[in-house]
């Protein structure tokens, strides 16, 4: 019994913790006994970001024979705390977040009686803690109450204010004269990370690539010595933006290597001296060799294919009162990297398609980023879907885009329009080929929202087909509206020059809009470096002798005639 008296003290705690901006407080109350319950100061409150958000409050029991109980202390989730789901809870009477409470005593056994967990709170939300722990401890003893989160959320520095020892009749509890302020300094124990990317994944003769190092936080001591490159060299690092630093990579001449990466090591830190986490760039290929051509006396170089895009908009979109004139406007863009020549636009039912503007230098070449506008007018007597096929050429390779547009005649129905742009991340792959990532950008150039949006590609299988829950769906209504852009990517491996067709469809008013996007990626397509040109004609000496000969002959004949006459 003696031991029991000494040992068996039951404390019921209420916990507190967390608070920001000096707004929260907690109370600890003695229950059924005498003594003092105090909350130790700042030294006993810690935040540990190493494993997760973790808050620890230590209560020191200075006198035996007291019990502490919770009084539903309130606190505010500090700014910087990121719960897995920041949706405010309806029941604010319980705790909190995604972690668990635990309690321990140096000399006894504690249990957590109400470790409510799994709820979520919003940052800044005022909530009430109701955690009760029961400990059997020696006196004096130290009891530690800990909230251990389960996610590695970042925790900003904040301050806790704790008011404690409020005797409300349960016994002689000595209140703390003034609420102690406990300052929590969140220690940055998060390792900085870096992501390495390159803007050219297939380096050929004369190519360089911009290498981008994107850091999670400002690095300290990051230099070119931290960068290991394969088959080339890295230039000076531009750190004008410390979080996004860049450098130029130049491949070694006369090599072919399909497997290369640029690596960042770990010999750098963040400001808190946490060791950096390195990264490898995606694989890139190098072909800086030349191979003899079969003729022509030169070497092979790869040629870049063209890429164009056409958007077609009819005006009006519908003729509810019956047939009438319609003007189609075609917007033609060069979205590739080489000028496109010999542009032709062929409409199935509307001709002629006339260039209205855009060729500012009048060179009939669709330059990179140049936008041409064509128009064509016709008269429709029935609902009709017009198709225009546009073709252009560069480096002996064609680019094609097909655009559709429906005009409804005789019904008060607005037809849908859809537009898809497809771009490969690379236009030329060295042999034997490699990975290409296509980006598809789907928009609605019409006026009615599109449902059942569908995106496919005939030679790339990574697209979703029917699109559901796209992040570009701003109002989350599963409709593609004309202020929204839905983007997709699809990755495939090419071993030969490939032209594939992306198809986007969308429905509205019981009509389906369709658009196509074609793109060509060249694999090891090559042509000869030309032989030197033949720029000369026979030199002047080739022509002069004829005249000189004739002149000498005639002059000699003349002299002979004169000489003979003088001798007659």
């Amino acid at each position: 019994m003696k031991n029991l008296k000494k040992i068996c003290l039951f404390f019921v705690f209420t916990t507190l913790v967390l608070v920001s901006s000096f707004t929260g407080y907690q109370t600890v109350q003695a229950v059924g006994g005498q003594g003092t319950a105090t909350i130790d100061g700042a030294a006993n409150v810690t935040v540990d970001q190493a494993t997760s958000h973790k808050f620890t409050v230590v209560l020191t029991i200075g006198t035996s024979g007291i019990t502490a109980d919770a009084q539903n202390p309130t606190f505010t989730i500090p700014a910087g705390f990121t719960a897995p789901d920041a949706t405010p809870v309806a029941n604010a009477g319980l705790v909190v977040a995604d972690g668990d409470w635990s309690v321990s005593a140096a000399g006894g056994i504690c249990t957590v009686e109400n470790p409510t967990a799994g709820l979520t709170v919003a940052v800044g939300q005022l909530i009430t803690v109701d955690v009760t722990t029961t400990c059997t401890v020696a006196v004096p003893d130290t009891i530690t109450l800990t909230y251990q989160g389960q996610s590695a959320s970042a925790m900003a520095a904040t301050a806790l204010v704790i008011a404690t020892a409020d005797d409300i009749g349960w016994g002689a509890v000595t209140p703390i004269a003034a609420p102690p302020t406990i300052t929590v300094i969140a220690t940055d124990v998060t390792a900085p990370t870096v992501t390495v990317t390159m803007d050219d994944a297939a380096l050929n003769i004369g190519d360089t690539s911009l290498v981008t190092f994107t850091f999670s936080e400002t690095p300290v001591g990051f230099t070119t010595a931290d960068v290991t490159v394969a088959n080339g060299s890295i230039g000076a690092i531009d750190a004008s933006n410390p979080l996004v630093q860049t450098a130029t990579y130049t491949p070694t001449n006369s090599i072919t290597d399909a497997t290369n990466v640029i690596s960042v090591g770990t010999a750098w830190t963040d400001a808190a001296l946490n060791t950096g986490v390195g990264d490898d760039s995606p694989n890139y290929t190098i072909d800086t060799t030349t191979s003899a051509s079969s003729g022509g006396g030169g070497q092979f170089i790869s040629l870049v294919p063209p890429l164009i895009d056409v958007v077609k908009i009819p005006n009006p979109l519908s003729l509810p009162a019956g047939g009438g004139p319609v003007t189609y406007t075609y917007t033609l863009s060069n979205i590739g990297t080489v000028p496109v020549t010999n542009i032709t636009m062929v409409g199935d039912t509307c001709n002629p398609i006339a260039l209205a503007s855009g060729d500012n230098n009048n060179n009939a070449i669709l330059d990179v980023n140049e936008i041409w506008t064509h128009r064509c007018s016709t008269t429709l007597s029935a609902t009709h879907t017009n198709i225009v096929t546009t073709t252009g050429w560069a480096n002996g390779i064609s680019a094609v885009d097909i655009a559709n547009a429906t005009v409804v005649v005789g019904l008060p129905v607005v037809p849908p329009l859809i537009h898809v742009v497809k771009k490969p991340n690379i236009f030329v792959l060295p042999a034997p080929g490699g990975t290409v990532t296509y980006t598809y950008t789907v928009t609605n150039p019409g006026t009615v929202p599109l449902s059942n949006v569908n995106i496919t590609d005939n030679k790339c299988t990574g697209l979703p087909g029917r699109v559901l829950g796209h992040p570009g769906d701003l109002n989350k209504n599963s409709l593609l509206e004309n202020n929204e852009t839905w983007s997709f990517t699809c990755q495939t491996n090419l071993t030969q020059t490939t032209t594939n067709t992306g198809t986007a469809t969308g429905d509205a008013n019981n009509l389906t809009a369709t658009d196509f996007a074609l793109a060509t990626v060249v694999v090891n397509t090559s042509t000869v470096v030309p032989s030197l040109p033949k720029t000369g004609f026979p030199p002047k000496e080739e022509n002069i002798p004829i005249v000189v000969f004739l002149s000498i002959f005639m002059f000699s004949s003349l002299l002979c005639i004169v000489w003979k006459q003088q001798n007659v």
Partner: protein, 207 residues
């Protein structure tokens, strides 16, 4: 009789001299209208041109429109050419123009932009690159772009190549810099091959 013979002799001299002048004109040894259509010495005031150059911004490259070389009085329009069926770089249609290899690098971009011009023409009409061999290291070459921009190149060196020599260095560079290389024919005329024995290439670097 002696005066009569002298009169006939003089008459023959005049007639023959006239015929010779006629032949000279026909065969183009002297032809006033055959002055080159290139903007040659007479049409370029070098100082005035250089002052104009200095007043223009050296901006990024567009498509080349004109080649200007004050040192040898060239101001020639630029044609765009590709390959001949035999795999050689094509050439300009006339003596006054130059041809840019449009399947290669644009002047001002990283790499070797290549421009060819004739040296010699039918009937001895002067051609644009007749005096290309006179360029020396440090001479300036200008390219006028489609938007009026002027790019300046400095001659680095000249080399001669055989017609079927490896032209890799002429068309390709991988030093990350912008170059302009000018090509024309040089050497002796090969009657069998109907071409000159060599090609002269002037290598220039962007200023």
């Amino acid at each position: 009789m002696q005066p009569k013979i002298s009169l006939i002799w003089s008459w023959f001299i005049v007639v023959i001299t006239g015929i010779m002048f006629y032949l000279l004109i026909v065969f183009g040894i002297y032809s006033p209208q055959n002055t080159p259509k290139v903007k040659s010495a007479e049409s370029i005031n070098s100082l005035e041109f250089l002052e104009n150059i200095a007043s223009l911004d050296q901006i990024s490259s567009g498509l080349p429109i004109r080649l200007i070389i004050p040192k040898i009085f060239i101001k020639a329009n630029v044609e765009y050419v590709g390959l001949t069926p035999s795999g050689a770089m094509d050439v300009p249609k006339g003596p006054a123009e130059v041809a840019w290899y449009s399947l290669g690098t644009r002047p001002g971009e990283k790499g070797n932009a290549v421009i060819a011009g004739h040296s010699g023409w039918r009937n001895n009409i002067p051609a644009v690159f007749d005096n290309l061999h006179k360029l020396r290291k440090g001479d300036k070459i200008y390219i006028e772009g489609e938007k009026g921009e002027i790019l300046t190149f400095i001659v680095r060196e000249s080399k001669t190549y055989k017609p079927k020599a490896n032209a890799y260095d002429v068309f390709i560079s991988n030093d990350g810099l912008a170059h302009l290389n000018l090509i024309t024919c040089t050497g002796f005329w090969n009657k069998i091959a109907k071409t000159h024995s060599d090609r002269l290439v002037v290598f220039a670097d962007r200023e």
